[in-house]
Symmetry: C2
Subunit: 521 residues, 2 copies
Amino acid sequence: MTPAHSAPERIVVVGFGPVAARFVDELRPAAAAGVAEVTVIGDEEQPAYNRVLVADLGVGRTALASMRLADPDDLASHGIRAVLGTHVARIDRSRRLVHTAEGGPFPYDRLVLATGARAAIPNLTGLNPDPLHPVLPHGVTALRDLADAERLSAAVRGRKRIVVLGGGVLGLEAALAASEEGATVTVVHHGARPLGRQIDPGGGATLAAVLRAGGLRLAPNARATGIETDDDGAFRALLLEDGSAIDGDLLVLACGARPRRELAEGAGLGTDAGILVDHRLAALHTEHVFAIGDCAEVRCADATCEECARGDGPSGLIAPGWRQADWLAASFRSRLLGEPAPAPLPEERPGVILLKARGVNLALAGNVQREPWESVAWDADDGGRSPIDVSLWADPAHGRYVKMCTRKGVLEGFIALGMPRAAAELTLLFGSGAELPADRSVLLRLDGPESSLGAPGSSAGPESTLCRCAGVSRGTVQEAVLGGCSTVEEVSKSTRAGTGCGGCRDSVRELIEQHFAVAAA
Amino acid sequence: MTPAHSAPERIVVVGFGPVAARFVDELRPAAAAGVAEVTVIGDEEQPAYNRVLVADLGVGRTALASMRLADPDDLASHGIRAVLGTHVARIDRSRRLVHTAEGGPFPYDRLVLATGARAAIPNLTGLNPDPLHPVLPHGVTALRDLADAERLSAAVRGRKRIVVLGGGVLGLEAALAASEEGATVTVVHHGARPLGRQIDPGGGATLAAVLRAGGLRLAPNARATGIETDDDGAFRALLLEDGSAIDGDLLVLACGARPRRELAEGAGLGTDAGILVDHRLAALHTEHVFAIGDCAEVRCADATCEECARGDGPSGLIAPGWRQADWLAASFRSRLLGEPAPAPLPEERPGVILLKARGVNLALAGNVQREPWESVAWDADDGGRSPIDVSLWADPAHGRYVKMCTRKGVLEGFIALGMPRAAAELTLLFGSGAELPADRSVLLRLDGPESSLGAPGSSAGPESTLCRCAGVSRGTVQEAVLGGCSTVEEVSKSTRAGTGCGGCRDSVRELIEQHFAVAAA
């Protein structure tokens, strides 16, 4: 069944988002060597772009050109075919064919599903209830594709009133950006505070105050029940359970995303929240089919696997998807080109949530619900484990809040609001699992007047990760700067740092400035 | 009626505690000049000693010689007579006579009452209910005089079980000292945490954990109803309202103090909590009678006086009493010797509570009940005033807790636990009313590994107060060290610094060491 060495292996990738783009990028050596024939099929007319920046595009902060993650001509020159604007209708596993509405079929030896996710559409009176084919009324938009960005852009340019439904990171980022660009923005969310159960009450209260001070209106403890439309069927107000209504010109739905798994379901593959794959990213109980990125859910067939028992579905973050793309491409190259097999994919640590805007800098990860005095009051051993210690710095009048939850000195969760350097350092420490200094207040000093990046007490050595999305180390960026890159864009192009959420772009800029300051001195 | 210049003014001081000792000390120039004839009458056989150190004496940490605040022979050589072991029975204001049980009477031109306070005896079944003449059962003691110290000492030497009733500073200090010296100590207190309403819930919880870690047993939320005695009538157990009992060999009553005002009441002077005096420390509605220290309550006859409306009775702290003694003596000297009149006594700021022991360092002052998020949540203007901002550092696993409550950047209250330098700095800032740095976390840096006293960011200049009890500046102590004082005792003798609560003795030692380190370098 394995193709003869003379015939190239036909690899078909369904979906052409950031993860698919990374995967085919990493397959270039195999395509160039003639051992693989790679086809990537996207249903948008655009090749892959960075979805994380759709809100930035909508408010005019970035241009589509800066968001692009793939160039079909360049791919074609390496023997990789990109098929755009093409909807995959069905997969025939027995014949190994991908059928599209427009034509085809595309035969494959290996099929990689990178279908991603779509915006979750809440169940509101007046919205189309079919989640697979939402037809949203005029004046209602999600924030996932370029058409969404254009809708947001029109509202911001017109300085309209925007209602954002959802107090998660995506909603807050869009709201902050739109507000800064002149729109009047109300964020409507469940619970007493934005970020809901991801943040703790004190951090949430401080964040809410910072957001309000930054010009956002917040509508907490709100349950939306429907929308009110004008005579033309366009959005006019969001209706709440308590009978009140919030007027607006554009409703932005920021209620999370759902994996696109219907294609896999139609092909009889196992799914739960996403398409089920094992630790080698292979779909369960079948052959030749793989899934990566937002559509994939790692849950192997071994019922005793602790890692899978702990897992809670696709993360929705870009970095784990890119790690999967890298790994799967490396495993393909290993088979096709004889490269060494990649080490098993490590278990994903919980992601770090970053929220950056003018006047807002938040990093948040892990479990932060415990309060400082709980561990003291109940000196319980938590099932034989050491207790969780909590250190807290709260200065809400200055918008600062740092919480560190540690077990044996190692972070299990943290919040850093209004202290960018502490945020960066804690993000590093959370990622590395290194022990914190016994005097936790050392972390607060990083944001002091006399500190600078790489200050004493910082663990930001060259080995440390600078861009978490793309997995690029500080040293790699420094080498790129030494090698002549003098703008963030050049560094991004050369190293991929900064191509994900963009949260590390300030650090990249700082390294460039440091280099030129030293060079000039 | 004023005595002729040829006849010295007869000044009689009733009571010979620390405040009386300070007062007669400051009258030496008048006595030496022959314009005053000073008599001080104490009912103890001992001349004045520092009551604050009674618990330290009881656990063997200090000797009586180090506690003495007066030397009758020395006073006599300056023309001041000390009458010891003499109980004043009655004051005849019309004839200006002080009658004693043992003899007399002592005629006066000016009478100064410095009768101090006595331990409050709680209303417990099995204790003598007469508060003026308590006869406590064997195995029960207060902590005010040398006999009390001896009872504590016997229990500590015998490594007995000690039950301390009362969770205030006095009780905690005694408990910590006795525990460190080997006794088994339980502190029984009202409310969920020691220090009750003086501390906030988070600080109280952290303090409780620190105290427990230091070996103390705490019995919170306890209401004592009586004591159980053995066949000889000696204390055996403290009985609680919930029916439980705490066994012990010695019960230490640390339930506060009550001003001794019965002499004044018998003389028809106005009293409330203490003996009422005006802002010149003169008893109300009479002439020639004054009161200072723990027995005095400043509440003038002017019903519209805001300062008196704010006051809440005698503070029970040594520093305000010493300031009164200084001021009254200066006003007497002004009249008798023609010295310039002293400036009016400033209003007492709320006192700073200090609790120092091995592993425990707490400073606490003002109102600390507000929580960081309250000022954010309720941005109320508090009757036209600026809101109170609260900054908080909580690291209970390391026994650290710092809370700063500010209005317009000036401290209204603070807690510093486990961070001695932050405690010292906040005590200074609280006393001076200076504005805090905008970045409050600067205060936490003082306790960092690289800091030292007088580090950048500290306001501990030579003008700053080092000994709050005796009102001695840092510069005065530095001059004494430069002048040859090489031990804390020599500095205390020369400057009075460290003669009160002793909380500044570490700072004095540090200045001495700094001097000799520099001198040796």
